[in-house]
């Protein structure tokens, strides 16, 4: 397609979805490199946001209404997952006690 030609809205949305997915892939590199658990956690959260965005774009482009429900559930549980990540990364009770009362 040349510049100036008319672009179908679905094609435009798909292009944006590809772009968002590429950005998500870059976020993936961040997950791969770490180094701390917090970096990986934030990258996973970014991954969630980007994934939901790509999902909504795909859903509108292909006119699949149920996709909005999937995005809704993912958005809701992404917030829950952040709590789970912190819970998993936090030291266990005994460790805190040991640090406070050596």
């Amino acid at each position: 397609m040349r510049w100036g030609e008319r672009m179908e809205i679905a094609d435009f949305l798909l292009t944006v979805a590809v772009f968002v997915l590429a950005m998500v892939a870059l976020g993936l590199v961040r997950i791969l490199r770490g180094p701390a658990a917090a970096d990986q956690m934030m990258a996973a959260q970014l991954f969630g946001t980007g994934g939901i965005a790509a999902l909504l774009l795909l859903g509108v482009a292909t006119e699949a209404d149920a996709v909005i429900d999937v995005a809704l559930v993912l958005a809701l549980l992404a917030a829950f997952a952040s709590v789970a990540f912190v819970q998993g990364a936090a030291p266990a009770d005994e460790d805190i006690k040991e640090k406070n009362h050596p």
Partner: protein, 311 residues
């Protein structure tokens, strides 16, 4: 449709990269993060494959409770003083070879399917109007294969009994404790703001499933995540497992399904057959009971064995 193809190829490459990394990484915490990201990508893939019901299940189960369950297991492993030696190279190679065998077998099955693949989808859709439902997936789960759904709703209970049986002698009948080690303002606020929305979404997914993608399992998983969030923030305490109301809730879904199934013998001539014109309200009643039982069972599975001595 070259752009759609670009999306699909990009998704496939991402899925492979995340899967490979999840296997290769040494740290369990990082592997769980990779697994959660992998689940999110799979939901996208299911949407691209025009299977929104499966995408919803993957989203509801994979990105919520599974992550928490795996992360608490990883944290427990990290803090446990393990004396067992890591598995030797023979065991590792054997496990790897078995996994490759399973993946290759599945791939061969998919590739060897005749074209067009045998399908019962037209028959399922053709008889859907008789059930009063609009979503063929719910039709299969609640009408054509209701016996499978019944077994699925029962199988959560032995799993929960397995977790409970890890309790020490004196704690039996007590309450599990699932609380964040350092609950603070942010977590408390989130546990107050998110559950009202989550409860609406959970009930909506279940209620909606008659005509649109959704179902008791997806809705139950969302409701369970909301309860677990309130437990983590310390806003509520987990009930003692000997509580009668709790146990009634746990078996309610399977009991209602069994009762409707047995009534079907007299009213419609077969086990789990629905009387004509009443199938949709009956199915919704079963789903509502199921969603409660599934939510309670999933949350208690995550909460773990009881550790508080009954008082």
């Amino acid at each position: 449709m070259t752009l759609a193809l670009a999306v699909d190829i990009g998704l496939a490459l991402l899925v492979l990269a995340v899967a490979g990394w999840t296997i290769a990484v040494r740290d369990t915490f990082a592997a769980v993060i990779g697994f959660v990201a992998y689940g999110l990508l799979l939901a996208l893939v299911w949407v691209r494959l025009a299977a929104p019901d499966v995408a919803l299940t993957e989203a509801a189960v994979g990105s919520g409770l599974t992550g928490l369950l795996l992360l608490s297991a990883s944290a427990r492993l990290r803090h446990a003083k393990t004396s067992a030696a890591p598995p030797g190279p023979v065991l590792q190679w054997a496990a790897g070879a078995l996994c490759i065998l399973i993946a290759a077998g599945l791939a061969a099955l998919v590739l060897l399917l005749p074209d067009p693949a045998p399908t019962l989808a037209p028959a399922a859709v053709a008889h859907l109007p008789a059930t009063g439902l609009g979503n063929p997936v719910t039709g299969v789960l609640m009408v054509y294969r209701a016996i499978d759904t019944f077994l699925e709703s029962v199988v959560l209970l032995p799993a929960l009994l397995g977790v409970w049986s890890l309790a020490s002698e004196g704690d039996w009948g007590g309450a599990p404790i699932l609380r964040h080690p350092r609950p603070d303002g942010a977590l408390t606020l989130m546990a107050q703001v998110l559950p009202p929305l989550g409860i609406i979404v959970g009930v909506y997914l279940c209620w909606n499933s008659a005509d649109h993608p959704g179902g008791a399992f997806q809705g139950g998983a969302v409701l369970a995540a909301m309860w677990v969030l309130a437990l983590l923030a310390g806003l509520v305490d987990a009930p003692p497992i000997r509580q009668r109301g709790l146990r009634v809730l746990l078996v309610a879904g399977a009991a209602v399904l069994l009762a409707v199934g047995l009534a079907g013998i007299g009213l419609a001539g077969a086990f789990l057959a629905y009387p004509e014109h009443y199938s949709k309200p009956l199915i919704l009643a079963i789903e509502m009971a199921l969603v409660l039982s599934i939510a309670v069972a999933l949350a208690l599975l995550v909460a773990g064995p009881p550790v508080r001595t009954p008082s």
